[in-house]
């Protein structure tokens, strides 16, 4: 029978558990696969966690928590760190007081993302130390180590995870005697935390000094270690690639890097000297390979074809044996599609029928690009629909420009569509513009998370609601319509046609709760009603 001390957790849950054990004061983030479950789990086991409107705000709240001397955990998917990068670079300069750990959950293989960017590059670029766990036990252990390191060097720390580490269940043995820390209290320190040029010049030097010390620390830390076996070949690896390597080459010597910025160059050189031949096995960009080669150490890397997609045991074997990619043809699975009865089906049917040029956005509704609708022309990143749509309107011929529509979801609109709408009012195209906000009252794509427009917090308890139509009106959009697209009714089509012909600025909010969420929405409403009832009786 299984030992009571052992748990079978996903990497995401392991980070949430470590945060709970460390007494993290606040977890913040924006939902994004594969990072979403970290804060959900942290909240479920009693931690205080909240969704922010976007990753930049989430990180800034986290920085504030850390300035106040408490511990903050900030989570996001890889592309979220692009949004938060301004704050990341600045916080590397200011440093922190309480611990600040930022989780970047990367998606090599694009299971549910628009790109395969390798966020290890951010650690180097911003100058923040980085851990890369290989499984759930390391996700737990490295979260603890990251907070300790963050507090010791007063620096934000990047915990870089990937899809398979986040979503795989593996065994975790939690630590017994972790003590959660009380906040250190507030200390005013404007010279450190106000980045005017006069102070920031010192801040940059202070950061480089910390990174120099961390480089030394990296050499001796327990997270970078060698396993010497057969020395005819040595493999340097990190993250998920480590476990694939151990299975593919059980008898080969391995240098396992868990702390990957700053890199332990001396340790790497020693390892390379001990083996006859050395190859770097890593998923995504050749980050380790390039850094090691740039230090003058002769190692081999993978073929360029292995930059794409996730690695697995077979691909690792091929990398080591310098074989080309397997030519096995994998039959395609069934692609995802909009649910039967989803209101977006009606919207895309209409857009398709009217021959609109659709500037789309990120969410379930991106599926409007696929047959039978084929009703999306562009989709780049969160919030891009409005700006790109305006650009199209500015430069296309008048006849074509009149057909351009921007389509954006409710959560995405709050994330980064608001400034696009401000641009529309400030620099209106000659033909006007039409923006459709698909408001299904949840963040559906990532698994039905709350957002400021739902009026409920991460744990589904009620809070203030940001009213999307009030926001649209306040920005100064002339025409605002709120509709519920319905099968068998042509009112949505009529409205869209009228709006396109008007050549004015129009926002149409197409509102109906997501079908998958409606059961849950009723449950939350019942909970609220019961609470109100109880309070009334108390009075």
């Amino acid at each position: 029978m299984v030992d009571e001390e052992k748990l079978l957790l996903t990497g995401d849950e392991a980070v949430g558990l470590a945060a709970k054990h460390l007494g993290v004061a606040l977890g913040t983030g924006y939902p994004g696969t594969p990072s979403t479950e970290i804060l959900e789990y942290f909240s479920e086991i009693g931690g205080k966690a909240q969704w922010s409107p976007n990753e930049k705000v989430a990180l800034e709240v986290g920085i504030g928590v850390a300035f106040a001397g408490a511990r903050a955990l900030v989570t996001m998917k890889h592309v979220g760190l692009n949004v938060a990068s301004d704050s990341l670079f600045a916080s590397a300069y200011t440093g922190v007081y309480g611990g600040l750990v930022i989780v970047s959950a990367d998606d090599p293989g694009l299971a549910s993302s628009q790109n395969e960017q390798d966020n290890r590059r951010y650690a180097v670029s911003a100058g923040v130390p980085m851990f890369e766990p290989s499984d759930s036990q390391e996700a737990y252990d490295f979260t603890i180590a990251a907070f300790e390191l963050s507090e010791k060097w007063q620096i934000p720390v990047l915990l870089r995870m990937t899809m398979r580490v986040c979503h795989s269940r593996t065994i975790v043995i939690p630590k017994k005697d972790l003590t959660s820390k009380n906040p250190l209290g507030y200390v005013k320190d404007a010279q450190t935390r106000v980045l005017i040029p006069a102070y920031a010049r010192f801040a940059h030097r202070r950061l480089r000094k910390k990174l120099g010390e961390l480089k030394e620390w990296s050499e001796d830390c327990p997270f970078n270690f060698s396993i010497f076996k057969d020395k005819s070949l040595g493999i340097i690896t990190s993250g998920i690639s480590f476990v694939h390597t151990c299975e593919a080459e059980p008898d080969t010597s391995v240098l396992k890097l868990g702390f990957t910025y700053p890199l332990p160059i001396k340790k790497i050189a020693e390892f390379v000297n001990q083996v006859e031949h050395c190859i770097v096995v890593e998923e995504g960009d050749p980050y380790l390979y390039e850094s090691i080669r740039a230090s003058g150490i002769n190692v081999d890397g993978k073929d360029e074809s292995y930059r794409f997609g996730e690695l697995n045991v077979e691909r690792v074997r091929n990398i080591i044996q310098k074989k080309p990619e397997s030519e096995r043809k994998i039959p395609p699975g069934k692609p995802p599609q909009l649910c039967d009865g989803c209101q977006y089906r009606i919207v895309y049917d209409t857009l398709s029928r009217l021959g609109c040029i659709v500037s789309g956005d990120i969410g379930c509704y991106t599926l409007g690009v696929l047959p039978p609708f084929n009703a999306m022309d562009t989709c780049l990143c969160m919030g891009a629909s409005i700006g790109v749509g305006l650009g199209l309107r500015h430069s296309l011929s008048e006849e074509k420009a009149r057909k351009v529509v921007s389509v954006i979801g409710d959560s995405t609109f709050i994330h980064s569509g608001i400034t696009g709408l401000v641009e529309m009012v400030y620099n209106p195209p000659p033909t006007g513009h039409v923006v459709i906000i698909l408001d299904n009252q949840t963040t559906a794509m990532t698994g039905l998370q709350e957002h400021p427009g739902t009026g409920r917090k991460l744990n589904h308890e009620p809070t203030n609601r940001v009213v999307i139509e009030d926001l649209v009106k306040a920005i100064g959009v002339k025409n605002l319509h709120i509709v519920e697209p319905r099968l068998g009714s042509d009112s949505f089509e009529k409205l869209l046609n009228e709006s396109l012909n008007k050549e004015e600025l129009t926002v149409i909010i197409a509102r109906r709760p997501c079908l998958l969420a409606s059961k849950k929405l009723k449950k939350y409403q019942r909970c609220e009603d019961v609470k109100k009832e109880v309070n009334r009786e108390k009075k």
């Binding site: 593996t170 697995n312 045991v313």
Partner: protein, 171 residues
């Protein structure tokens, strides 16, 4: 790799692939195996293909089953056999709803438990452990229904000659 049992569970979003793989992974864990379970979700709720790898044995490294190394392929939806068949090793066992008497199933949603019942015949994990884990995953009435489905799966499969048997690695 020797000593590891690899089970691939596949189906469509919303069918309970992830619940089934959790049930298997936690049962193997409860029995005392080292376990790794991996999955790709994210877009799965939209009815697309979903699959989950469960690996257990004395020591498991990678959470992903290498192609052509699955000992068992459990498929919840016949259309999902073809896209996943390349994962099954030579001599591996395919378990599909065809094996189950669907008329006796206590609800469409319990097909995953029935298929795991069939799978359980080949694994060393005793039925009490399966039920213990099941009672944590499903509540009250759902638990009872899934128990019935699991046992139905056990019965459906023994009646048929099985062409492949795989030696499970005991601890």
């Amino acid at each position: 790799m020797t000593g590891i049992t690899n089970v691939l569970i596949a189906g469509l979003g919303g069918q309970g692939v992830l619940t089934a793989s959790d049930l298997l992974a936690f049962s193997a864990f409860e029995f005392g195996f080292d376990v790794k379970k991996s999955e790709i979700k994210g877009m799965s709720q939209r009815g697309g293909s979903v699959s989950s790898d469960v690996r257990f044995g004395k020591k498991v490294w990678s959470p992903m089953i290498p192609p052509c190394e699955a000992d068992y392929l459990v498929v919840l939806e016949p259309t999902q056999i073809e896209p996943n068949l390349f994962m099954l090793k030579e001599g591996g066992l395919l378990i599909t709803p065809k094996e189950i008497d669907l008329n006796k199933l206590p609800g469409k949603q319990t097909i995953n438990s029935a298929l795991l019942g069939a799978l359980s015949l080949f694994l060393p994990i005793p039925v009490e452990i399966w039920f213990k884990v099941m009672s944590k995953i499903f509540l009250n009435e759902k638990f009872e229904k899934n128990k019935v489905a699991f046992l139905l799966g056990c019965d459906s499969f023994v009646k048929k000659p099985v062409n492949v048997s795989i030696q499970n690695n005991q601890l």
